[in-house]
């Protein structure tokens, strides 16, 4: 980074005064928007002492909420990792009618507001929904129950793995696989021993993004969980209900825990992105 900045710091280099003014302004904005609010959250959460913070985090409701969030994240991540891997292969390796359209449709969940995503799922899988009425007739409940939470989380995270795996798979090409096949390796063996190791950083990055988004999804879950008292709560619903029902201590405490997890994931993402970029460069050179 420093090498590139010295290489470029030439023609548009304004006077040092302008340079430091710009750096100062960006730092100030960054602090006002991101840094100070994050610190304020942590301070508010522990303002009642570490004991009450611990008490709020370890309450049975909080533990149940975090447990459900982990479970929902786990199922959604597994589903979208399998789909993402498979669909990346379809998009990169196959030719068929409507491929460009299918490629665009994967990105749709990015354009859908979480609230609207929830509404859509209620319309399809709700008690009177298109598919929901058949499922309910069979005695199963999707929306207003935990499968609805899984479904909503899966919907909003559909694009992540596909978007990260497609470019690395395209970069990887077919040559090495063909060598492995020529040497007598079967389809599975080639996939496990040759293809998967080559796309692993891109895949890991996509999975991390999926996990981060799943842990934090809120709007879609709010809609599909319904407005029932004592409803099944995930961590984000627990935070929202804590504020609504005037128990801000538990909401702030749970927020700090979720924010902590997302910072850990963020560090993971930064590390993975460096690996992915390093790979891309080594392929190009």
């Amino acid at each position: 980074m420093s090498a590139s900045s010295t290489r470029f710091a030439r023609a548009t280099d304004a006077s040092p005064r302008v340079k430091w003014l710009l750096i100062g302004a960006v730092w100030l904005w960054f602090a006002i928007l991101i840094l100070f609010p994050a610190i304020a959250l942590a301070r508010t959460a522990i303002s009642g002492g570490l004991n009450s913070f611990w008490h709020a985090v370890s309450s049975p409701e909080a533990q149940r909420a975090f447990g459900l969030t982990l479970w929902v994240t786990f199922v959604a991540t597994i589903a979208n990792t399998l789909f993402g891997l498979g669909f990346s292969f379809v998009l990169v390796r196959q030719k068929f009618w409507g491929k460009t359209l299918a490629d665009g449709i994967v990105d749709l969940p990015f354009a859908v507001s979480p609230i609207i995503a929830g509404l859509m799922l209620v319309l399809v899988y709700g008690p009177k929904g298109w598919i929901g009425k058949w499922i309910e007739a069979g005695g199963l409940r999707v929306v207003y129950s935990w499968p609805g939470l899984v479904l909503a989380t899966t919907f909003v995270t559909v694009p992540f793995v596909v978007r990260e795996v497609v470019p690395v798979l395209r970069e990887f090409g077919l040559d090495q696989e063909e060598v492995a096949r020529t040497l007598g390796a079967g389809r599975w063996k080639t996939f496990w021993r040759v293809t998967l190791p080559s796309i692993r950083w891109g895949l890991a990055y996509g999975v991390t993004l999926t996990v981060a988004r799943s842990l934090g999804e809120f709007g879609a879950l709010l809609v599909v969980s319904g407005n029932i008292l004592g409803r099944t709560q995930t961590a984000t619903l627990f935070i929202h209900d804590g504020i609504e029902s005037f128990h801000p201590e538990s909401a702030y405490a749970a927020s700090v825990v979720l924010a902590g997890i997302s910072i850990v994931l963020l560090i993971g993402m930064e590390t993975l992105r460096k690996y992915v970029e390093a790979r891309e460069h080594s392929v190009q050179e």
């Binding site: 980074m1 030439r10 750096i23 928007l33 665009g104 509404l119």
Partner: protein, 271 residues
């Protein structure tokens, strides 16, 4: 290629993944649009021009426009500083710029309330000077600024890194001043990336809910945005109103994404 594409395993993979996509994504979308237009055009227009719905949509657009105006400038400045300068805390800033993408939206909302809300010291000072942010429209803009901060930065940074210094050098040799060089040489290369980041931020702002609901105060005709209106209508059983506003918001987000795709495809074909 052809051999792989027609093998039974490949066909099965294609069938399974396309079915998954159909059930997970296409069916819900079709359901929403179908149900929204079923009552007829008059009903659609009536629900859309309902004063509460119309105000919520207007508020969403107004706040999104203000946010985009600020973020396109500050995002570009942030990318510029991160690519071209070395300064204390650069590593920290570079890592934390992505924080808004990682932090859950409800947590974002709570962070802003914790710092600027009426029960904090700073919030109390702001309130007593008539500059209340939280539970007012500026709070909505603040939340949108937070959640969409990385879009412009991350879209502009790679372009700035790839820029050929020779052009800027040439302009300098010809006697152009730094600001003129930026305006006439650098900016024409940068603007597609700025536009891309801005459009993505705008699309995100149209749908943002979690952070906004925590800071907005949810007062109809004052601080209730489009997505909040949709949620309120679902809760009170007015599904058609919710579906109509949803369809409009979704249609706009989609149009932005499709437009961006068209914009990004152009330079690729030039290569």
């Amino acid at each position: 290629m052809a051999k792989i594409a027609t093998s039974p395993v490949s066909l099965a993979l294609r069938g399974t993944t396309l079915t998954y996509l159909g059930i997970m994504v296409i069916l819900p979308l079709v359901a929403l649009v179908t149900e929204a237009v079923t009552p007829g055009r008059q009903e659609f227009v009536a629900k859309l021009t309902d004063p509460f719905a119309w105000h919520a949509l207007k508020l969403t657009f107004a706040t999104a426009f203000v946010m985009v105006g600020i973020n396109s400038v500050i995002g570009t400045a942030t990318a510029w500083v991160l690519v071209r300068y070395d300064f204390p805390g650069k590593g920290l800033m570079n890592a934390l710029v992505d924080l808004p993408f990682a932090v859950p939206t409800v947590v974002t909302g709570l962070m802003l309330v914790a710092l600027y809300g009426p029960s904090s010291t700073l919030g109390a000072i702001l309130n007593s000077n008539g500059l209340a942010v939280i539970y007012q429209p500026p709070g909505i803009v603040l939340a949108l600024l937070f959640v969409s901060y990385p879009f412009v930065v991350r879209s502009v940074m790679p372009v700035l890194q790839e820029i050929d210094p020779a052009e800027e050098e040439a302009a300098k040799t010809l006697g152009a001043r730094p600001w003129t060089i930026f305006r006439r040489v650098t900016f024409p290369t940068l603007w597609p990336a700025i536009l891309t980041g801005t459009a993505m931020a705008f699309s995100r702002a149209l749908g943002e809910f979690g952070s906004v609901v925590m800071v907005a105060g949810n007062r109809p005709l004052e601080t209730k945005t489009g997505p909040m209106y949709v949620f309120g209508e679902i809760e009170s059983g007015n599904r058609i109103g919710a579906m109509v506003v949803s369809t409009v918001l979704l249609g706009l987000s989609l149009a932005i994404l499709v437009g961006l795709n068209a914009l990004q495809r152009r330079p690729e074909t030039r290569k």
